[in-house]
């Protein structure tokens, strides 16, 4: 009967070693057998002009439910959308007068947004689940951010709460201007929200608190002010470590769950996936993501499987499925010259790497690559 080996016993030796080397490096008394990681001979590392780092154009996008996606992926336009989704907070507005409640101005400043974003236009959305708590008084003019709690009562409303408006934004502070949409609150005035006179729940002298929950601001941005820098291998090919650095911490803004590679097919009349004109979506597996922090993404470039050879523009996309960020966000673009490696080759004894035709250069040169995953695994003992 086969007995499963202890953990760490069966090893896959990714480097090029002989059995003898592997066995010599193995010890029964060690939980983690020493790995013979030294190659038998010098391996020529990856190098070639396969990936040429382009000006990295990081950007954000949210596939939100509005049809107003603005076609932001038109060629040459680095315009993208952002989902700013403080769904865990309520935005409170205060009324001070039954007859003429003051405007409750909703101000967003650059500080409210991820650093480096330069807003162009935005749409303000709410879902109609606003609540009103007459018992809670606040000083007029104060604006508090508050977590929802059980003490809030659902506002008695008629009409539609849901809606959308498209405020205009200027430089500096971002001030959405609302327009009347509500039948009860009538609170939409330029630059503000006020309590409607018909609201029975509001009494003079009190400063009732209105809360609009699930308040979404969808902003569309032009080219962002921050940039990632590819500090890894400048000419990355599948298997290379690619590093995107963002000293401003941009990487932490959207908390991606994963990354994909798309390729540009705008010239080929292909149009599929979430990014019109871009095709594919090669998932970068978790195991290929070495580090991910606010300031750095370090990953191993996956195989370009399926990407047509020739000059291509690749797009690195971050994917998210969380409370802060949901959707796919283009992070970086690359111009790549995917080498057509086809050709006639000869097996060469003693050569410990593969040499391919490199058709990414003129004239055609050669490219040395290490063997793809040389390995063995023994059977169970």
């Amino acid at each position: 009967m086969a007995v499963p080996p202890p953990q760490g016993f069966i090893k896959i030796y990714p480097d090029q070693v002989t059995i003898v080397q592997a066995l010599n490096g193995w010890s029964l008394n060690s939980d983690v057998p020493p790995m013979p990681t030294r190659p038998q001979a010098d391996l020529q590392a990856y190098f070639a002009a396969r990936v040429v780092n382009d000006a990295v154009a990081p950007c954000f996008r949210r596939d939100f439910e509005s049809p107003g996606g603005s076609g932001v992926y038109a060629p040459g336009v680095n315009t993208y959308e952002l989902s700013f989704s403080p769904s865990h907070t309520g935005i409170q507005f205060f009324a001070s007068s039954l007859s003429d409640p003051p405007d409750a101005t909703l101000n967003f400043t650059d500080a409210d947004f991820p650093a480096g974003l330069s807003i162009n236009q935005a749409a303000l959305w709410w879902d109609g689940l606003g609540r009103f708590d007459a018992a809670r008084e606040r000083d007029i003019g104060s604006i508090n951010w508050k977590f929802f709690g059980s003490t809030y009562n659902t506002m008695a409303l008629t009409g539609s709460w849901g809606g959308q408006t498209t405020p205009a934004f200027g430089a500096g502070a971002i001030i959405p201007s609302f327009f009347t949409h509500w039948s009860i609150l009538q609170l939409m005035k330029t630059f503000g929200i006020e309590v409607p006179v018909t609201s029975s729940a509001v009494t003079f002298g009190l400063t009732p608190e209105f809360v609009i929950s699930d308040f979404y601001l969808y902003a569309i941005y032009n080219t962002l002010q921050f940039q990632y820098t590819n500090t890894g291998t400048p000419n990355a090919i599948p298997g290379d470590i690619t590093v995107l650095e963002s000293p401003t911490g941009s990487m932490g803004l959207f908390d991606p769950d994963g990354f994909k590679i798309y390729w540009d097919t705008r010239d080929e009349e292909e149009d599929s996936g979430p990014f019109p004109g871009w095709t594919g979506g090669i998932l970068i597996p978790r195991r290929l993501i070495l580090t991910l922090s606010d300031v750095e993404l370090r990953f191993i470039m996956p195989e370009y499987l399926g990407i047509p050879y020739g000059g291509r523009r690749l797009m690195l996309v971050g994917t998210g499925e969380g409370s802060v960020f949901t959707g796919e966000v283009p992070l970086a673009n690359y111009n790549v010259q995917l080498v057509d490696g086809s050709g006639v080759y000869q097996l060469t004894r003693g050569q410990r790497h593969d040499t391919y035709y490199n058709r990414g250069t003129t004239p055609i040169t050669e490219i040395d690559l290490k063997f793809p995953r040389p390995r063995f695994r023994t059977g169970f003992f």
């Binding site: 038998q40 490696g341 006639v344 000869q346 097996l347 050669e366 040389p374 063995f376 023994t378």
Partner: protein, 511 residues
Amino acid sequence: MSVRDHAPLPMGPFKGLWQRGDPENVPLDHFERANNIVRDGKDWTNRPGIAISQTVVAPLKNIKRGYNFPRLTSNDEIILVENETTGNGEIYHIVNDGTGTVFGPILTKAGMTDFAFVPYAGRGYICPFGTFQTGDINIQKGLQNEFLYVYLGAGVAARKAAGSTPAGTLTIANGAAGHTDAGLKIFGVVGETDTGYLSPPIALNTFTTGSALSVSFSNIPVFVGAQWIKRHIVASISITGFNGNLEGYDLFYIPGAVINDNVTTVLANISFYDAELLEDASHLFDNYSSIPAGCGLNIYKDRLVLNTTFDDINLCLVSNPGEPEAINQIDGLLTLTPESSPLTCSQELRDVLYVGRRTKVIGYVDNGDVPSSWVPIVIDSGQGWPVHGIVTVLDSGGTTVDFLIVANFGGVMIFNGKFMFPELSYKISSLWKDQDRNLFRRIQLIIVPTTKLIYIVLPDGRLLIGDYADGLDHKNICWSPQSFYVIVNYIMVVNIDDVIVGMDNPNIGIT
């Protein structure tokens, strides 16, 4: 049991990959998984790396298929590539004489995703074929309205084998004093190409010769094409009671009545007796002038064997001995029992011609008579081979040590007139079964006796190496798969044991 009584488990030497059923059953001296390693004595090490084979400005790419093209001066390669702009299949000739010369394309055909090739007398015969879908099954057969082509090897584009004939009527007259057997005879012209193909007799006409006179010919038709290099005058013996059917009598070559060009239209003063008319030309009437393309080419008993045309997937065409382009449309056929599974390829072993389907093998023996008289014998109704499924020994043939090595749905196995079991791929049966059967067209094998290695192109684009240094049997052969960043489409051997690998882009997909 004390430690002292513990039986040690010796490891190695390892005997390669064991991928057969449950991984827990992998023997201690085998690998459960392996990639890109090969055996080196009793040890294992990296596989040989690949290096570029063409040091030229524009090396070939999008490689689909390749064959050895052994010639007097070099062992060349015939390579099929896909033109990425047009999508057409293009065949090139790489001259391995150290100059880096590449001829071609010597043949360009739309839809040619594969081709059959056989060298013969310094030239090569080419059949473009493709893959067609029948239900869920892919089959291979010759392209529609395509033909057998012949390539002379010097860079001139391949041309259709055999050839068409011009119209015209021979003019015959009495010549100077000479001799013939007096009487009415039928005269005609047979053209000859630079590959030895002889056309059907044309320009037939009758003339009554006189006993004391020679015969002169004029209006001798000129054939179209530079391949026509010679013309022969043929004649019947004297006919008594001619029935008017010019093609109803045997025609023979007249000794000495040869025009060694394709220009001259007259030939004067030919004398001959009927008794000198020995070499028959009548059979040429029934030869194909355009030989339909098939998916398999082979040489058997100095005959060209072509199988699986577009219109008949159960048909083998067999040429006359020594005349690969002379295939009789009536008695040069091996018509097998019609089946939906097409013929794949054929191979000679011990004077027997084995014709395969994917799961069947039929044997024929050349009985010295016309091919249509050969009797088919079903060798195996459960095992066959795909279109490239018979091993190539070094740069030619298929026989080594009096047997074949073939690859089919059942695995890699020895065929010595019957399939030998357990198959050589016994240890890796799971790996073999995982291969896509619709892609078995891609399987190709070569055996290199000098290094005792078998190389197999797998349907999934990898290369499988079998090391039989310890014995060519299912127990001792050591298997190890090899992968690359590109997919392997063919493999060949030049210069005894230099292994050439043709590779294509993986992004195109494996078809």
